[in-house]
Amino acid sequence: MEQPIIRVKDLSKTFRTHKRGAGFINSLKSFIKRDVFVKKAVDRISFDIKEGERVALIGQNGAGKSTTVKMLTGILKPTNGEISVLNLHPFKERTKLNKNYGVIFGQRHNLWWDVPAIDSYYLFKAMYDIRDDDFEKRLKIVRSSLGIKEYLNTPVRKLSLGERMRCELGLIFMHNPKIVFLDEPTIGVDVVGKKKITEFLLRINKRFNTTILLTSHDMKDVENICKRAIIIEGGKILFDDKIGYLKRDYIDSKTLHLKFSKPLDQKTLFGKDLERIGTSRYQIIFDNKEDIGRFLKQVLDDSSKEVLDVSIIEEDLNEIIRNIFEGKRK
């Protein structure tokens, strides 16, 4: 395919902070002599992202996700390593780059606080040099797909968190950015709102081939929006591939639920342990290597039992990720 539009090689960021003890004496002490300690927030990470990709950055609190995004957007100066976004250095060539991307930090805001959101949209229109017809066109898309029509004319401070987030999200698409960096954009958004956001992002991605880099702690969002995941832990990359592969490689068990016409009086079934979860409902756990199909066939062929309902439950992404972080990876 084409050239990657984001390229990162051996990128690192270290923060130098001063430790300060509690209490008056300690703060006096630290005034005179300060203990510096160094925190490696991002530690030699490398990855490429191609135009139109939808990538999730996953990691526990403090893993280095936001720091990475801040380096990609020119907010932080990298300590070491190579970085290029649209062939530009985000920190050194910020002014050339920043009309081409959009950024959301879930816990911060771009909208002006005391005026209706629409005023900020008009300010952005001027800042980003958006043509009148383009502006109207995109405003229409944003307004209907994010469902923010009635919020746009209310002073931002009077909006609920979720309402505001949707207005924020619309704003950064007004200049048709090539890349959007979304750092926890679904904070405080309810399920209906999340669905709208997901659909909106997919639509924008499809229609304008906008590249999406998302960080989120909500694995449902990640699964729904992204195709690829980069997992970081302690500033290092643990996994970088399709989300589908993540499931293939890291799922270690599946759960089978069976409902029979009447309760069974046995503890095992064809060699598998039965766990009762209802009057005539049972749960059986299979590890990855076992063949659920063959087992099921045996059960269904057994004329002494009547199966009323079957369901197979996969581990969801949340559990997979948790397994990875808890070191249970294979």
Partner: protein, 266 residues
């Protein structure tokens, strides 16, 4: 920043400011208070000693100086140091890095927009009162026009300098100290309360080198017609160059500071 951005920024800042009307009233009261106290002092000094002129200033000149100083204060004074300092400390500065604007230009325009209500309503109102009660000197039209021009530069000088003080937060987080320091420097070297003519002579060379006299002293002297038209124009030119130098300095410090930015607060 192009003019449309300037205009839109200005508009939104003005609108934003209008959302709060109470603190608007609060700072109508502070300026006149200082004026009253110092005016009182002047009246006593002149009448008690039975003198008509000190350093070329009559009692009316001195009171007028003070009155115009109060008006100039309304035009130039903003919370720029603490605003900028807070943005850096809390990490909100990031918001301005990701927008296609220059933080300095943007800040100057934004603060100006917030300033307008006080400029257009409070300043004329207060001046009218001072005129009625203290018979303050009023400039003729050419001097008045030059005075307005001079105040635009005063605004820029004050705010660019205090902006630089705010930028120091990139290195040390106690921006309120920088705010106090900056205010003290300006109050001392600008002729805020006292015409520079009253300063001891060894101070004058220092004051001449520094740009701060252009914040208060120069526009006031133009308004009081202490300068001829041609020397007033010269003052404006000198102000203009001070603005350019300070502006370039601020841009440089902003560039150096940005590399230090740690974007705290998530």
């Amino acid at each position: 920043m192009n003019l449309r951005v300037v205009f839109e920024t200005f508009k939104i800042a003005l609108k934003d400011r209008m959302a709060y009307r109470t603190d608007f009233i609060a700072d109508v009261l502070i300026g006149p208070l200082i004026f009253l106290v110092v005016q009182f002092l002047w009246t006593n000094i002149y009448t008690y000693n039975n003198i008509t002129e000190i350093n070329g200033f009559t009692l009316n000149d001195s009171i007028s100086y003070l009155a115009v100083s109060t008006i100039v204060g309304y035009f130039v004074w903003t919370w720029v140091t603490t605003t900028v300092g807070m943005k850096i400390k809390r990490g909100d500065f990031a918001r301005y890095v990701i927008m296609p604007i220059n933080f300095l230009d943007y800040t100057l325009v934004e603060l100006f927009g917030r300033k307008v209500p006080s400029m257009l309503i409070k300043a004329p109102l207060l001046f009218l009162l001072l005129k009625i009660f203290f018979n303050v000197h009023v400039a003729d039209l050419p001097h008045f026009i030059l005075f307005i021009g001079s105040m635009v530069f005063s605004y820029l000088l004050f705010n660019i300098f205090m902006f630089i003080m705010g930028l120091l937060t990139f290195w040390q987080e106690s921006f309120w100290v920088f705010n106090m320091l900056g205010s003290a420097i300006i109050e001392f070297f600008s002729g805020w309360l006292l015409p520079i003519d009253f300063y001891p002579s060894f101070m004058k060379p220092i004051i001449e080198i520094l740009p701060f006299r252009h914040i208060y002293y120069s526009p006031i002297m133009i308004f009081l017609e202490k300068y001829s038209i041609s020397s007033s124009i010269q003052v404006l030119v000198s102000q203009f160059f001070s603005v350019i130098i300070l502006y370039l300095l601020a841009r440089l410090i902003l560039r150096l500071g940005r590399a230090k930015f740690t974007s705290q607060g998530g």
